[in-house]
Symmetry: C2
Subunit: 159 residues, 2 copies
Amino acid sequence: MTATASPDADWLRLDRQICFSLHAASRAFNGVYRVILKDLGLTYPQYLVLLVLWEQGDLPVKKLGEQLRLDSGTLSPLVKRLEGAGLVRRERSAEDERSVRVHLTEEGAALRERALEVPRRIMSATGFDLAEIGELRARLDQLTTALDAAAQSEARSAR
Amino acid sequence: MTATASPDADWLRLDRQICFSLHAASRAFNGVYRVILKDLGLTYPQYLVLLVLWEQGDLPVKKLGEQLRLDSGTLSPLVKRLEGAGLVRRERSAEDERSVRVHLTEEGAALRERALEVPRRIMSATGFDLAEIGELRARLDQLTTALDAAAQSEARSAR
DNA sequence: CACAATTAAGTTGTGCACAATTAAGTGGCT
DNA sequence: AGCCACTTAATTGTGCACAACTTAATTGTG
């Protein structure tokens, strides 16, 4: 009974390979970042938060979440860990007491210098050139957009 | 100081877009699976384990881990949850007492019928056709291979 | 045979992702 | 003013990923 007995069985096989490939690639990326970021004492999601802050300056948690597609359930503890490491400060906004603004500390800003070499090392780890990466990125963004829309409509139709 | 003042700053921007796209796509896929698999009472990694078992029959945890690139730290509790749901049984191998074989229960085997429609729904959620998916899958597998090799050599050079 | 090295699972601890809920602040509207 | 809807964070609980370690069984070698 392990052989593919019907067209549906082939679909199950194929399916495994589509989503599984993405899943595996994502974890492989994570593994490389884990090794490279260890020197900086960062995890990959923490590094993403710092990338946004380095690029755009201080932001409220809400804005961080929009850019990274993460909610407060993920960001709150993550930012607190960054604060514990002395890389950021959290400050309630004076204008809107609901909002918490995340500021880079001097130490957090300084870490950017040491992070500058990370992209090159990642790039070389992929073995891809700029054009290939750009192509893949475009494909993945297209996929994400389609999947997000589908999840919405699936969730809607499940109500 | 938010503007890109050097070539290195551009690298940081670019970098965010490569790995971040993959990260986002992986989570988007997970979101769609979450919605679709809710009816079956499965998470996406649990579904992956069942896919392997449906296709290849009973396997030791070790073999499952090789195919899914997961270690016992992830698989042990996951398989126990599947056992708790009545979908699999775990049995110590008689020949090698170290090995635990994961068997589908009748209920677990029967769930396959209801899972047959999942791939089509996922496929349609991506908005991609078979050729595009195959192309993307090939690219991702290539990426995973390169990244795994790089993580090895990075880890080696860090010693 | 004895003992070291290896192997398979499981356990522990940390961190991320996300659903669901809570708490507190804001703004509109009558 | 009083009330209601909405917004922003934080919290709680579940599950996955992975490193580090433990336990028990097996294999290899002298």
